[in-house]
Each structure stands twice: as C-alpha cells, then as structure tokens.
C-alpha cells in the first residue's frame, strides 16, 4: 500500500466525503419529517390518509433501495420525469427512510403508558392537548434509540447511490480502483471516510439516547 497514492487521491475523496455527508443530511432530515408526518396520521387515525400511509410503509420497507433508485432515476424519465442523479438519491433515501422513521416514531408513541393518557384525560385535556403536552413529548423521547439506529442505517445506505453514478464515497473508491487499480489504497480511504462520519455520530447518538431516557423517565 502506497502512502503517496493515498495522498494523491485525498482531494477527490474529500469531495466525495462532503457529498456523502450532504446527501445523508438531506435524506435524514427529509425522512424524519416524512416519518413524523406519517406517524401523526397513524396516531390520529385519519381515515384514508391512514390507509395511504400503510401502503407507503409496506412498499417502502419491502423493496430494496437499489430498486427504488432504479425506478426514480431510470424509469421515471420514461414518463417524462427526468430527475438529476443527486436529487434522485435524496428522494430515494427519503422514500426509504420515511417508513423506517415512521415506524420508529409510532413505536415511541405506542410506548407511552396508558395511565399517562388516562391521567391527562382526568385533568380535562382534549385529545389534541393530550397529544401535544403528554403523548408526543414522551413518545418522541422513547423513539430516540430507534431514530438513532435509522440515522446510521441511512448514512450507510448512501453507498448504494453508486449505482446511479453519484460520486459519493463508495462510487469514488470504485472509480479509483477501476481507473488506476489502486484497490488497497482506495478501500482503505473508503473505510476511513465512513468511520470518520459514523463513529463520532454513533457516540453522539448514544449520548443523546441516554439523555432522552433520563430526561423523560424514572418513576
């Protein structure tokens, strides 16, 4: 393994690193908002919308991101919907992540003890007030561990973007290997690149999980 080769490839990997981070951020934020929205629809049992959410969740969770990306990037142009690669990637990540986030939020909301709901009712709270002051704050705190797992999962899923030629980390590494046969060096930098993102993030999320638990519970 040659350090010179690594050094020379660093600028292009750096670009890929920031791109991976940027696409992950958009995807995760979008997926969280979509998931939150879907879980609220489920919580309030809004007719029709609730069924649509369920169909979406089944569809999104039971198809691979790879196929979802193919659809968005290669199939949609057939019906006149041409979407740039990076946007396709973000849309794909949101489509996939939204259902995972929805399940995480819903799990948290379901986890709020029944007696909390009853004691909220007992002081005269309306359903909306109950949701706003009691169920959602507690439910969202309960869902933090699952959300954290999804965040990590979604960042790793960006490696699939390589199939629609987005120059993120994995794509860049494969490119370097393909062009210069610098297999060892490229894979080494690739691993380091993901580790730099994921390890600190994982630590932060663990800290956040502990805080959320401590902030909410303790009978």
């Amino acid at each position: 393994m040659s350090w010179t080769v690594i050094q020379q490839s660093l600028p292009i990997f750096e670009k890929a690193f920031w791109l991976t981070l940027k696409l992950s951020c958009y995807g995760i934020i979008g997926a969280s908002l979509l998931g939150l929205f879907a879980s609220f629809i489920r919580y309030f049992q809004i007719p029709v919308a609730k069924q649509l959410v369920n169909v979406y969740i089944e569809l999104s969770r039971n198809t691979p991101l790879l196929i979802q990306l193919f659809f968005i990037y290669y199939a949609f142009p057939e019906i006149g919907l041409k979407i740039p690669a990076e946007t396709s990637g973000i849309i794909g990540l949101i489509f996939l992540g939204g259902s995972y986030m929805a399940e995480a939020f819903s799990g948290g909301l379901d986890g709020v003890p029944k007696v909390q709901i009853e004691s909220g009712k007992a002081i005269g709270l309306s359903n909306l007030q109950l949701a706003r002051y009691v169920i959602f704050p507690q439910g969202l705190a309960l869902s933090v561990p699952a959300i954290a797992a999804n965040v990590i999962f979604l960042i790793k899923e960006t490696s699939i973007f390589t199939v629609i030629a987005i120059p993120e980390l994995t794509n860049t590494a494969l490119d370097q290997i393909g062009m210069y046969y610098h297999t060892d060096e490229s894979l080494f930098v690739l691993v380091i690149g993901y580790a730099i993102i994921l390890i600190p993030l994982s630590l932060i999320l663990t800290w956040l999980e502990r805080r959320a638990r401590y902030g909410t519970f303790g009978h």
């Binding site: 909390q116 007992a122 507690q138 303790g218």
Partner: protein, 245 residues
C-alpha cells in the same frame, strides 16, 4: 346548593359476556366522604372509573348536580374539570416539572391567568409540604411525594368532587401516612370525595358512608360509623374480620 352531587342509577357494565357491575345505585351528598370497600376484583376500580368517564357502561344513568350526564367524550372532557381523579400508580407527567404538571390543567384546559394559577398552585404545594419541589422533575421525587403532587394537580382545577382509586396501594408503608393526611385535611374542609382504599383505619376515620361491593354488586350501604362496628351483612363482617389483625 344541591342535595345530591352525584347520583348513580341502575348502572350495569359488562366486559363481553362477563357482567362486572350489577345494577349499582347510590348517591353522594355534597361535602360527604364515601368509601368504597370490598375484596379484590369486586369492581371498585371499575365503578370509580365509570364515574370519570374512563370506562364505558352498557346501561344506567349518572347525574352530576342534578344534571343527567350524557356519556359523550365532549361531556366528560368538560366534567372532568369538576370531577378530579387520582390513580394508584404515580401518574405524573415525567416530561414536565412538578409545577408544570400542576399548571397544565388550569392554564391549558381552564385558560386561567398564569399569575392567579401559579398563586393557587404555590399555596397547594405549601399545604402538602412540597414547596421546595416546584421545579423538580417527577423522577426526583419519592412515591409518596409524587402521589401528593398528583392530588395537588387534580385540586388545581378546583373540582367539586374528588375520586381516589387506591392511591396508597403502591406506596412504601412509610409514605402512606403523608398521603392519607392530605386526604383527611381535604375531608375536614368538606371536599366531597369517593375513596377506594384498603387502609381500614383510615377508612373508618374518614368515611361518612360506606359502600360495600362484592362481585360487582353493592351488598351494603351503611353510614361509616355503623359499618365498622355493626355491619348489616355477614359478608361485610367477614370482610372486616379478614382485614383486622
């Protein structure tokens, strides 16, 4: 002032085919303390929960201040400001501080002014001896302290009627006293109360009336003093004997 605060007529409740409350009839006069006694599984909790709209029932009529209660979610939501309830488990909202727990109802449900509600809350906290804990979170409190706050939270809405469902049943023995004292003070101040409890000494002290329940039916309705010395039914006598050490 009305003669009866709460009236229960021919209340029947079943879970599926299993009848859990049989033709319950009683009324509660303002300022009185009614104690609901009976063995486990006799339907005490189910009954008290019916009176706050937390359980539905198949037939029967409830009236509050001589007004028949239409059992809809809307009616109950309104009525719960007048009928407070405290549960067995310490059910404070863990995401809110003590003072926010107490103020949630007055501010959001009753839309009262913050200054006025806070003044009342502070006074109530003083009465239960927990002034210093206003800004604490529930997890920092002991079970007995939490339960006293739960009582304050219900009182902050200025209810006319208080329901207590075995509020000391899951407390450590040494915490029980503080909670019972709060309830005794309420009784002294002529708060109308319906109390489910297994603390017999306390029941004897506080009860103006006793309803003795078994298998979902009221076996006996007797003034408090008389119930503990001369119960009318053998079953009640047996129950009292079994509770006495």
């Amino acid at each position: 002032m009305v003669d009866t605060l709460l009236k229960v007529e021919h209340l029947n409740k079943a879970y599926g085919t299993k009848q859990v409350l049989h033709d319950i009839n009683f009324s509660v006069t303002p300022g009185s303390v009614t104690v609901l006694l009976g063995p486990s599984g006799s339907g005490k909790s189910t009954l008290i929960r019916c009176l706050n709209g937390l359980e539905e029932f198949q037939s029967g009529q409830l009236s509050f201040e001589d007004q028949p209660i239409k059992p809809t979610p809307k009616t109950w939501q309104q009525l719960r400001q007048k009928i407070g309830m405290v549960f067995q488990s310490y059910d404070l909202f863990p995401n809110l501080t003590v003072i926010d727990n107490i103020l949630l109802g007055p501010l959001k449900v009753q839309k009262r002014s913050k200054t006025e509600a806070l003044k009342q809350a502070t006074q109530l906290l003083k009465e239960v001896d927990l002034t210093d804990y206003a800004d604490a979170f529930p997890r920092q409190l002991s079970g007995g302290q939490k339960q006293r706050i739960a009582i304050v939270r219900a009182l902050a809405l200025n209810p006319e009627f208080m329901l207590f469902d075995e509020v000391t049943a899951s407390l450590d023995p040494e915490m029980v006293r503080g909670v019972l004292e709060v309830m005794l003070n309420l009784a002294k101040r002529k708060m109308t109360m319906l109390v489910v409890t297994h603390e017999m000494n306390f029941a004897q002290q506080i009860a103006d009336n006793v309803l003795f329940l078994e298998d979902g039916a009221i076996l006996e309705q007797t003034p408090g003093k008389q119930f503990f010395t001369q119960p009318q039914t053998d079953r009640a006598r047996e129950f009292l004997d079994s509770m006495a050490f």
